[in-house]
Symmetry: none
Subunit: 140 residues, 2 copies
DNA sequence: TTGATTGCAAAGTGTTTGCAACTAG
DNA sequence: CTAGTTGCAAACACTTTGCAATCAA
């Protein structure tokens, strides 16, 4: 999306609600990737009264705003995690257990940029998916 | 009678049907990752009479048997591709007109390999999508 | 013949949306 | 007040399953 980014991060009327706070806390507690369903279950288990729809709505909003990293598990769930690095980055995903490792390496970034430029493309953006077997899943 | 070690994967009564053949051909034609829905649509468009259920059934069977690689798209679809050992190439896609340019550059290949190795992953494979505006679509 | 295969219809997932009630500012 | 939020219920998209009809060997 060639977004003319007219969106101010700390945008207009954005309220602080009990639900949002609970969700934010849940995300901070476990820095790992978690599914909406799982987060919702935890909140409920913890006594928080939050609707599943709200969890979905908020997670998507946060992800769209760039505050959360997302990735699809092999089982088909969308997993969310608080962003750790501000910069654009990629992940390696274990195709067996779904475990992910973050990649912070500018090499691809510049590679993609130069390759695109050479082909005459502008306003470039890219996605990279690396899959493999992690150490633990290596033998079986 | 001595039980013959039933360890042959491609064993028992497996039939050759029109549908299976069509599906196999579709998979061979485009060596890229494709969704079940997309494959089914192509088959239908090509005049083949194949049920969506059958496409799903066969793709899953083939994947379980290890004949197909699978991977989840960010949109939530399961993508299938015939297994292969040979390296693949990538494309840059114009997000406006859809024109694609082939990328021939091993840089990413080795980058992906080294990054994966550093993270302790094996049997690695990757996909790269670069999108942008091609020369012709640059100015509106 | 006979068991593998097909594919319609229906059931299941995870996720999104319509929208009336609710609430922070 | 009033626009941002909530969450139930219903809609959705993708995938799987039940099962009777079909068909390859």
């Amino acid at each position: 999306m060639p977004s003319p980014t007219t969106s101010n991060p700390a945008a207009a009327g954005e309220r602080s609600t009990r639900q949002k706070r609970a969700l934010a806390q849940a995300l901070d507690e476990t820095g790992e990737f978690r599914s909406a369903q799982s987060i919702h279950a935890s909140l409920r288990a913890g006594g928080e009264r939050v609707g599943l729809t709200t969890v979905y709505n908020q997670l998507r909003a946060l992800a769209d705003a760039g505050s959360l990293d997302t990735f699809r598990s092999p089982e088909g769930e969308t997993l969310y995690r608080r962003c750790r690095t501000e910069q654009h980055h990629h992940h390696i995903v274990c195709r067996r257990c779904g475990r992910t490792v973050e990649i912070e390496d500018d090499a691809v970034e510049s590679w993609a940029a130069s390759v695109a430029k050479r082909a005459g493309f502008t306003e470039v953006e890219h996605t990279v998916e690396i899959m493999g077997l992690c150490r633990d899943c290596r033998r079986t």
